[in-house]
């Protein structure tokens, strides 16, 4: 019985990691579509999203099946609950990548002058590093690493705020580029949300490893 459960849970973990790879790939391709003004790449991201949605549903069904059949407790229960939550977070990452890709298509259709363009590299690199680090903390059982990543979220929030401020500043000088600037703000916001998702995954990792729910603690402490 225990062996069967161990086998099933390991298979489920592998499926989740495959989903993480797919979501990560969607994000990388969406950003590449923005940088390279490549609508084909962007359309491929949007098309691939439905497969990610389907896989998310399958993983959720597997989690529910394991809970019903094995009635897990303690670390087993926390692992399944964490998989269930991280699964939903990864599906959101892929959705946000699709949103970015949709903006990339718009932007490629109406390129803006150089002075209106944004360099997304700093915020993307930070958010992407957070996401990969969060998944790494999950795989390697590293709550300490998860805690360190959570602290990085403020820097991403600041970069997103800077993007919004820059767009506001440029808008009066380039009213014809309003659509483009809104697309840039949307992309920055999507990337900032991905950093939030990385933070959520880190909180799930801490719960998984230590049995302690740390969500909302910063807000509650204020």
């Amino acid at each position: 019985m225990r062996d069967r459960f161990t086998f099933e849970i390991e298979s489920l973990k592998q499926r989740l990691l495959d989903l993480a790879t797919a979501a990560d790939r969607a994000l990388v391709r969406a950003i590449r579509a923005v940088d390279g003004a490549s609508p084909d790449e962007a359309r491929a991201v949007i098309t691939a999203d439905s497969a990610i949605d389907a896989e998310e549903v399958t993983i959720e069904e597997e989690c529910l099946k394991l809970m019903a059949l094995y009635q897990p407790v303690a670390g087993d229960l926390r692992l399944i609950v964490t998989i269930l939550k991280v699964n939903g977070e990864l599906e959101r990452v892929a959705d946000l990548a699709s949103n970015i890709a949709a903006r990339a298509i718009d932007m490629a259709a109406a390129p803006a002058p150089a002075e209106c363009r944004f360099d997304f590299a700093p915020i993307v690199e930070r958010a992407h590093k957070m996401l990969r680090g969060a998944l790494d903390a999950f795989v390697c059982h590293r709550p300490d690493q998860a805690r360190a990543i959570i602290l990085e979220d403020d820097a991403v929030d600041a970069l997103n705020a800077a993007c919004y401020a820059a767009a506001r500043e440029r808008l009066p000088q380039h009213p014809a580029q309003a659509g483009y600037l809104l697309d840039c703000v949307t992309i920055s916001h999507c990337v900032e949300r991905i950093a939030d998702i990385a933070t959520n995954i880190c909180e799930d990792v801490i719960y998984l490893e230590e049995g302690q729910i740390v969500r909302h603690q910063k807000r509650l402490a204020q």
């Binding site: 225990r2 897990p72 407790v73 303690a74 670390g75």
Partner: protein
């Protein structure tokens, strides 16, 4: 603001050790607090000492030659291991339900009336009233009210166990000890007993030994995990089953051994 009050401790075991005939030690310096009007579940693999520990709370072990307990078991602060303890009174205060239903070979009515006749001086009318109240309390009255003269042994397994619970609560004990009370009955009867135990919690302090971890998780307020005669971990059931502190507890409740 935290308004929760620490519940009163009904039983406190202190440095409780237990020896079987021949000197085999089954318990080692156990400390365990049993809060009043809560359900405390005792879990652990076979031979870990959980039933032995339970059996010290009403000294039922003293029916067997050569068995002895050391340390203290404080019932409302009074050490019931003291040789001067009146065992008849102790067992009225601390009732016990066993793994296998043990109705006496007599009628349903007489099974429940037995402890009333033993411990109290009551009229026939008072006995009849208390028998009905106990059968109501054990959720059995509706099923047996028209067959009170039928032998207790003729009831189903689940009904027999509820009859034993009725017999135990008729004596108005303060504590109910349950030693795997559902291991010999079917799942539907088990759920009836669990519902009953949850209701009895309002009136009695309950300590239940169980092999069924889902049962412990479903019905108890606190859980103690025993291993090789020692208490490895005790805490709120929710914490034990979601985030146990001890690795051994985690290994046991997730089925890695036992």
């Amino acid at each position: 603001m935290d308004n929760t009050q620490e519940p009163k401790l009904k039983i406190r075991a202190r440095k409780l050790s237990f020896f079987y005939e021949g000197g085999h030690q089954a318990l080692f310096d156990n400390d365990l607090d049993i809060p009043e009007r809560q359900i405390t579940a005792v879990i652990g693999p076979s031979g870990c000492g959980k039933s032995t520990h339970l059996r010290t709370y009403n000294r039922i072990y003293s029916l067997h030659r050569g068995q002895r307990a050391e340390g203290e078991v404080l019932l409302d602060g009074e050490n019931i291991l003291d040789p001067k303890t009146d065992l008849l009174t102790l067992r009225r205060r601390v009732g016990m339900i066993f793994q296998k239903p043990t109705p006496f070979p007599m009628s349903v009515f007489d099974n429940v009336a037995y402890p009333l006749r033993l411990h109290f001086r009551l009229s026939h009318k008072e006995i009849a009233e208390r028998v009905e109240a106990a059968l109501q309390g054990a959720s059995l009255w509706d099923e047996v009210k028209d067959q009170l003269r039928k032998s207790g042994l003729a009831l189903s397994g689940g009904q027999q166990q509820r009859l034993c619970i009725a017999r135990a609560i008729a004596a108005e004990p303060e504590v109910l000890l349950m030693d795997e009370p559902t291991s010999a009955i079917d799942p539907v009867a088990t759920l009836k007993i669990e519902d009953l135990v949850l209701r009895l919690r309002e009136r009695f302090t309950i300590v239940i030994v169980t092999h069924n971890m889902q049962q412990a998780a479903r019905i108890s307020d606190r859980t103690a995990f025993f291993y090789k005669g020692r208490i490895v971990e005790v805490g709120p059931t929710k914490q034990i089953f979601t985030a146990p502190k001890e690795k051994k507890t985690e290994e046991y409740i997730t089925g890695r051994f036992g």
